[in-house]
Amino acid sequence: MSKKIESAYIEGAKKAIASPTLQKSLDNIQDRFGKGAMQLWKELEDQGMRDRVKESRMRTLAHLDIILMELAQKVRKRGGKVFFARTAEEAVAYTLEVAQKNQVKSVVKGKSMTSMEIDIDPALEKAGIEVVETDLGEYIIQLAGDTPSHIIAPCIHMDRHDIGKLFTDKLGIEPTTDPPELTMAARKALREKLLSADMGITGCNLACAETGQIALVSNEGNIRMSTTMPRIHLALMGMERVTATTDEQRETLQLLTRGAALQKLSTYVSFNGGPKKEGDPDGPEEFHLVIIDNGRSKILADLEFRESLACIRCGACLNICPVYGKIGGHAYNSTYPGPIGAVITPLLDGVNKHADLCKGETLCGACLDVCPVKNDLPRMLSALRYKLAYGDNRWNVRQHNVKEAYVYAAWQKAISHSSAYRRMIKTARLLQKPFIGKNNMIKKMAGLASGWTDDRDLPPIAQRTFSEIWDEKYAKRQQQTPAIKEETNNEK
């Protein structure tokens, strides 16, 4: 009910809505993957799978300290090194230290949202280290100097024409818009980088405490090369991205690839957990696992939001969300866009700072239905709004909109007494008169609710409200009208 706030979110949204390329891509991805995932869940043979994985995710979170210690022990046993980073800064500093100690000149990266979250690239580049993204989408984004707009499909805001032009500019290829040709050009450029890199940095889809291995899924094979070709492999892992057992790891990965790309299994599933051993044909000389907190402990400690850490980062909620489907990823101004981003970004980076993410959805519930682990994101968005409404000490939230709070305080008074409420409606009915235009609709409103009439009309308050009609017509009624024939009643 506040006056329109021209925030970065709204600006970003407007820009996205005005881009036909983006709108078309968003339509395509949602039509195919969002609806596809919904269909897939319906057809899933093992209907208990999603609940089972959710249960194991929540159980893991409840014992995360023990499971992470077990994971660290197992990785160390395999000859790997483990570093617990409390903050993004600590994770970056450790990564830089490893790179510098090993005279790393060039880094190839496997697709990793966590690496974006801690902003590792600028730090490496500042230290004189070349960083190359090897996921095709991320590579395109990097060449364009852009940021990803989708968790799984980072460059959906660009089409083959944009990419063709970019490759001609940056890779010096002959102008083309043919996807296979463009892919070959990227492949050629990336192969050279992969073969000569000193260090591979990846994320971690899901580690397993039982084995001390991290699992990485990909369809391009670039992640496998990034983890086997360079001398050093360093994996960045959000601290919740772990399972206790291999069974849980397998089931969770099966949901991940289904939710992300409707695949029973991705083309590549790599398990890494330590340097190469004697006799291994390939593999790194050093393996580092950086387990990153960066605000997750605080989420873990709050039972209202712990569920958000059960997320397996498949991106399905982006593919179904009608808001994301219009505004794309950049409007969220966060590493994590879409419904999951709207919940965890405020929690990781400040609720007030990202108030628009808490409030800028319709709570339609599609994200809950499509989520492989049934994360109740609408519930958590609503809980965040509660914190913004009155302020909250635990999450250091200030009251977001004093004017709006007054409106609801007044609303509360009005709805508390039916006579006052009905008087208010009568007054509004009088006040609206000058605003009623043709076909009996209000075309322009002033004040707090004016946003409504920017692009649409509003029906006026009726000449007679139902309660007035009730008083006149029904309150003192005596007789019922006759019933319809019995036979039409029950042919369901």
């Binding site: 609303w411 508390s416 609709m441 009309d457 009730w470």
Partner: protein, 247 residues
């Protein structure tokens, strides 16, 4: 159906802006010889405040609602989102108050959305309505996803004599209303309702209907601004229609 009695829970928006939907519901109950009452103390269930985060204010509305309605046997409402509020969010509001929580759950268990009541509780599918025309149906979010009510309104629509029912594409995609969302983020909301309208137009329907007036108000408001020639009617209005017009 004699002997049955329902208590009318009329959404505030229906009361003040779309009384014809409530009147239609009343006329159907009359036709079915179901007795009805309307507790005149009722105002708003608290949903706008709850969805905007103002739970303390919403709790005042919820407590009031429970006090007004808890002695009624059956509560029927021509709005899915209000029923969703009562059934699913009232218990959240009173999670720390065992006594109120129990009362909230009791009220929730006897609160029904209008089409749900007709089809699931009364076992009806044909209530003798007649409406000539092509009609498409919008699945409102809290009705279809929150209350899992998808088939009931369709069953009733398909049994209306003369009515040609046409499914639109993505009928269960949000229309972009979202309460104050439509006011605070009009650009996004309009992009969403425009997509809904494209799907309505593509269906070739003359009338778009649904069980939630808030979504229908959003769709109607945009249709009107775009000067599109599609009529918006609450499902109760269609069900109240008979050969001689609306009963």
């Amino acid at each position: 159906m004699a002997g049955k009695k329902v208590s009318l829970f009329v959404q505030c928006l229906v009361d003040s802006m779309f009384p014809q939907a409530a009147e239609a519901m009343v006329s159907i109950f009359q036709r079915l010889q179901i007795d009805f009452d309307y507790p005149t103390q009722q105002t708003c269930c608290g949903q706008p405040a709850f969805n905007s985060g103002y739970r303390k204010d919403a709790t005042v509305a919820a407590r009031r609602f429970i006090e007004i309605f808890e002695n009624e046997a059956v509560i029927v409402c021509p709005s899915g989102s209000c029923v969703h509020m009562v059934r699913h969010h009232y218990p959240e509001l009173f999670a720390d108050d065992p006594e109120m929580l129990a009362r909230a759950k009791t009220v929730g268990s006897k609160t029904f959305e209008f089409t749900q009541y007709l089809v699931d509780e009364l076992n009806l599918s044909n209530i003798g309505a007649e409406f000539p025309g092509k009609v498409t149906y919008h699945d409102s979010c809290h009705l279809s996803r929150g209350l899992q009510i998808n088939s009931q309104p369709r069953t009733l629509l398909r049994h209306i004599k003369g009515l040609e029912f046409i499914e639109m594409k993505d009928s269960d995609t949000c229309c972009g209303f979202g309460g104050t969302f439509a006011i605070n983020y009009p650009d996004i909301s309009t992009a969403m309702v425009d997509e809904k309208i494209e799907n309505i137009l593509a269906s070739g329907a003359e009338v778009v209907t649904g069980c939630d007036i808030s979504c229908l108000m959003n769709i109607q408001g945009r249709l009107s601004r775009r000067e599109e020639n599609v009529k918006v009617m609450h499902i109760a209005e269609l069900l109240a229609s008979t050969a001689g017009g609306q009963s």
